[in-house]
């Protein structure tokens, strides 16, 4: 008999070697293929795939405005102002690289002086028929006399120094309103900037702003790195009295990449060390390493399969790999503990296969629901997890037992036993559990949900601090909402923008709509205006005005030709519509409002980001196929709504699916209810604890919440199964080890810096702890209490 067993054992050894070689080859192949996997660092995967959400998100990310680099120079004492200016000039002059398209430090005096005169000269082409009617009413002697008297007074006053160029070109102030529009465009900015000595200076006089325009996109890793390094090197030359802060989207993407890479390394390293230590010190068995190997192999192969299916994988999802391995290892642990129950392989596996499969399939069921999600990150993680779990299940049931088959003589030595028991009566256990759940239920109304997409930005703290400082230094106002008009060319976009402006003007007053169309009309409209303008003066008004000027200007000692530029303007030729487009003033305005895109051109118009206005404009925009509204506030609301509906759908689906699956497998309503206890406990404890510690819920924690519910029910199923089947293998030991390994995976995420990983980790830790304790202590107590009255005497059948 003994000889026969030894012969069987030798046969098993041979089988183990063949299997090990086969698995090793698969692993090698997988490792080799890893090199070809495309990884991405795009937080867009965490957003619901809703058109307006993605449109707004893409706009914020891709707009050239976001690509600008801001350098804020600072002096501590405003007396050092000349040094500040000198530092800005030196820095700007030192920049000589194709990476930087242009450097904006302020304005050039002469461009301003000549440019504004030229703008005023050509501005009649902006005058509408209504404006000409108003002008016509003013062409009378008393009015002209009053105007000339005022001109005289203004020119002799100190402020006349400022007004002189405009007075020469436009003494009657025809373009006063157009200039006001131009001024309005300039002052409706989110930064409180003043022009001093031709530089962009903060109100306290201690900061100067330099804007660097670049074609390097914020997500262009290598280019962004080179650009930031170049700028930082140039800033090393600053004098000691001047410091500088760098504000750029590029810093965020570089920092995120750094943080995620570090987090992935930390989670994998810590989880690996933790698992190894757990198995080696607790099991004191070299074969325990195999448990560690199974999830690694499963995750490795899952990565490959997912990348084949999806094309690319997200870094965030990779970061969660450690946690997934914690889940996937559960089944191996149950097999391992069963194999050390002192029974033969066949008997041990016969006992444990069914609950393992029920647990795994329930978890797969939970994750499968996420495959229906509108959030690609959820789908990606779900696919990854389902494949990992199925592979792990397969390895655990089909392969692992072969490697764990021990010499029959030594089986008894390997027996593991869970020795921690509570000496508290069942009713007290239930009472404590009820109080805990009750407290968590009371906290439910205070649960907060955070939708700010910036919460997924894992950039280092120093970057946020610098941005906060920048906002304070420059008194940054609230971000405006925008209407974005798209066309294949600038002129086409301008034409469309003008038409939209006509409709927008019906919605709210002109002042609050900051649009380039206020001062830059389409060529066709300008041409029409100019023809009307010429006709207007030819109808005898020119001579009348000239006579008035001759009469009154001599009274104030004006030269006869003092206003020649003005009278030349009255005969502006229609061809001047072309000259308008070359105005230096407009060349300076254009980059703020119009951007080249892959599709052609985008014109951006700004208005106050209030709910009421955005709602009205959004309604109107439904008739504008080539325009869309961008509002940070609306974006938050849409996101909130989308995630809420997503969460509701997924929660409902899971809430129905879990009991259903459990019922299918256990076929007894009482058992199902008891098995659900850990899941319900973990969900309520998570919500209660997060509220208690003032941690707001977000998409990552919601996902973890639903997942942990699925995991906890595994514990419930195992414990119920153990209770009514009276298994010889120690299920409590297996559940404890399962929870511990998952906890290792989740705990590593708690120490990560990236917010998505952190929120996922903290939720998992809370859920696993509460799910585990309720499974190990509450489920048996509840089973015993209910069994006395309600349960059938015979164990129920399972599938």
């Amino acid at each position: 008999m003994q000889a026969s067993m030894q012969s069987q054992f030798r046969f098993e050894r041979k089988k183990q070697i063949i299997l090990a070689i086969a698995v090793g080859l698969v692993v090698l192949l997988a490792l080799f293929s890893l090199r070809s996997i495309k990884l991405t660092n795009d937080i867009k995967v965490m957003l619901p795939q809703q058109e307006n959400i993605l449109q707004t998100f893409d706009f914020f990310r891709k707009t050239p405005l976001a690509g600008n680099v801001f350098v804020s120079f600072e002096i501590k004492d405003s007396k050092e102002f000349p040094k500040l200016i000198s530092a800005v000039d030196q820095f700007s002059a030192s920049l000589d690289t194709p990476m930087i398209k242009s450097v904006v430090t302020g304005t050039d005096g002469v461009i301003s002086y000549d440019g504004i005169r030229e703008f005023v000269r050509l501005a009649p082409q902006l005058m509408s028929e209504e404006e000409l009617n108003v002008l016509d009413a003013r062409l009378n002697g008393p009015f002209i006399h009053k105007v000339i008297k005022k001109l005289y007074r203004d020119l002799l006053s100190l402020s006349g120094l400022v007004m002189k160029p405009v007075i020469e070109q436009d003494p009657l102030g025809f373009q006063k309103e157009t200039l006001a529009k131009l001024r309005n465009l300039a002052t409706n900015m989110k930064h409180n900037v003043e022009i001093r000595n031709g530089h962009l200076i903060s109100r306290d006089g201690c900061h100067a702003l330099v804007i660097l325009e670049t074609d390097i996109s914020i997500t262009e890793g290598v280019g962004a790195k080179a650009l930031i390094r170049y700028i930082e090197d140039a800033l090393l030359e600053l004098p000691t009295a001047v410091s500088a802060d760098l504000i750029a989207g590029h810093l965020h993407s570089l920092s995120n990449e750094r943080v995620i890479k570090r987090d992935v390394f930390v989670t994998i390293a810590v989880a690996s060390i933790g698992f190894l230590a757990l198995f080696l010190f607790l099991f004191k068995d070299i074969k325990a390493l195999l448990l560690f190997m199974v999830p690694i192999v499963s995750v490795l192969i899952s990565i490959l399969i997912c990348s084949w299916i999806l094309g690319e994988l997200s870094y965030i999802i990779m970061g969660m790999g450690a946690l997934i391995s914690g889940i996937a290892i559960d089944y191996c642990i149950h097999v391992y503990v069963a194999m050390r129950s002192g029974q033969t392989r066949q008997v041990a596996m016969g006992e444990i296969t069914m609950p393992i499969m029920i647990g795994a399939l329930t978890t797969v069921g939970v994750y499968s629901v996420f495959l229906l999600s509108r959030i690609p990150g959820y789908r990606e993680l779900a696919l990854f997890t389902v494949i990992s779990i199925l592979l792990s299940l397969g390895f655990a049931i089909l392969l692992l037992p072969h490697f764990l088959t021990n010499n029959p003589g030594k089986i008894a030595e390997y027996k593991l036993k869970f020795r921690w028991t509570l000496n508290i009566p069942d009713k007290y256990v239930i009472l404590i559990w009820s109080i805990l759940l009750g407290s968590c239920l009371l906290l439910l109304p205070f649960v907060n949900f955070k939708t700010d997409v910036r919460q997924y930005d894992g950039s280092e703290e120093s970057i946020f601090q610098t941005e906060e400082k920048f906002d304070q230094d420059w008194e940054v106002k609230d971000r405006p909402a925008m209407i974005v008009v798209e066309a294949t060319s600038f002129n086409e976009a301008l034409e469309r923008n003008y038409q939209i402006q006509q409709q927008v003007d019906l919605i709210f007053d002109n002042e609050s709509y900051n649009s380039i169309s206020r001062v830059w009309l389409p060529e066709s409209v300008r041409h029409e205006n100019l023809v009307r303008w010429s006709r207007f003066w030819k109808e005898g008004r020119y001579k009348k005005l000239k006579d008035y000027f001759q009469t009154y200007s001599t009274q104030y000692d004006f030269e006869e030709n003092a206003f020649d530029p003005f009278f030349k303007m009255l005969y502006l030729a229609p061809e001047e519509v072309k000259a308008f487009e070359k105005l230096s003033v407009l060349k300076l305005i254009k980059p703020r409002f119009a951007f080249e895109t892959n599709q052609g051109c985008q014109i951006v118009n700004f208005f106050e980001d209030s709910e009421k206005l955005v709602e009205k404009v959004s309604q109107a925009s439904k008739n504008w196929p080539d325009a869309f509204v961008v509002s940070a506030n609306q974006f938050k609301q849409l996101l909130s709504k989308a995630i809420l509906s997503e969460t509701t759908f997924l929660s409902l689906a899971i809430a129905i699916l879990i009991p259903l699956l459990t019922f299918i497998f256990l076929k007894n309503l009482h058992y199902v209810m008891i098995a659900l206890v850990p899941a319900i406990t973990s969900v309520l404890v998570i919500l209660g604890m997060l509220t208690c510690f003032k941690i707001t819920l977000n998409a990552a924690s919601i996902f973890a919440l639903l997942v942990v519910g699925g995991l906890s029910i595994d514990y419930g199923i195992f414990m119920v199964y153990q209770s009514y089947k009276q298994l010889k293998s120690d299920t409590r030991m297996a559940v404890t080890l399962s929870a511990l390994t998952t906890l290792f995976g989740a705990s590593t995420l708690v120490v990560t810096k990236h917010p998505v990983l952190f929120y996922y980790g903290i939720t998992m830790v809370l859920g696993i702890l509460s799910g585990y304790f309720s499974a190990v202590f509450v489920v048996p107590s509840l089973y015993r209490l209910i069994k006395q009255d309600n349960f059938p005497t015979e164990p129920c059948q399972t599938v």
């Binding site: 801001f70 102002f81 000349p82 200016i85 000198s86 000039d89 904006v104 302020g106 304005t107 050039d108 005096g109 002469v110 461009i111 301003s112 002086y113 504004i116 008297k149 005289y152 007074r153 020119l155 002799l156 006053s157 100190l158 402020s159 120094l161 400022v162 007004m163 002189k164 160029p165 405009v166 007075i167 200039l179 131009l182 001024r183 300039a186 002052t187 900015m189 930064h191 409180n192 900037v193 003043e194 022009i195 001093r196 000595n197 031709g198 530089h199 962009l200 109100r203 702003l209 804007i211 325009e213 000692d557 004006f558 030269e559 003092a562 003033v585 300076l588 305005i589 980059p591 703020r592």
Partner: protein, 222 residues
Amino acid sequence: MKSFVWIGIFLFVSFGNPVDGWALSDVSPDQTEIRQVLHDLEKNIGYIESIQAKFIQKKRMKLFKHEIELSGSFYMQKPDHFAWYTHSPIEYAIIFKNNKVLQWNHETNRVDVISFKDMPILRTIVEQMQSWFYGSYLSLLDEYEIEIVSNAPLRICFIPNEHSFYLKMLEHVVIQFNQEQSAIDLIEVEEKSGDMSIFHFKETLINKEIDPSVWEILGRAS
């Protein structure tokens, strides 16, 4: 973002008033000597906390047939108070304080209050005048080529250098000091456009208490 760039395009500077051109001195001390002169001036003038004086401004502008003479008074008090009153040929006042500009004229008897932010060039001019009157001369080396035109009386010519904001607006500015080199007697400004101004200052009072009503232009409005 680039919108800041053109905020200044509304606001222009032109110093006016006719004055005969002057020839720069052939003898000009080297930079070390200029620095020494400026340093001495800073020492002499740097103690000024407030200043008040009457002025006569001769202004020649291409827009007018004849030279115009204006008279008035001005007041400056550290850190940021500045008032400019013109008595003839028009009655007019402009006051800068607490980041606000207040303007008044006799004709309308109305006070307009404007934010300093909306008149950045005017602010730059006022700050420039403060630098001259409070004696911050060495810092002007960053923006001007500086030459000594004469030593008695001391006349210094400031020519905007290539980094200067004023390069394309100003031809030059000449400042003449009193015998003790403790206050400014005269400022000449020539613009690129050809318009010129000469400011003669008299009855200058330094660090004497300024009547607080000077800063209260609103009281003038009916």
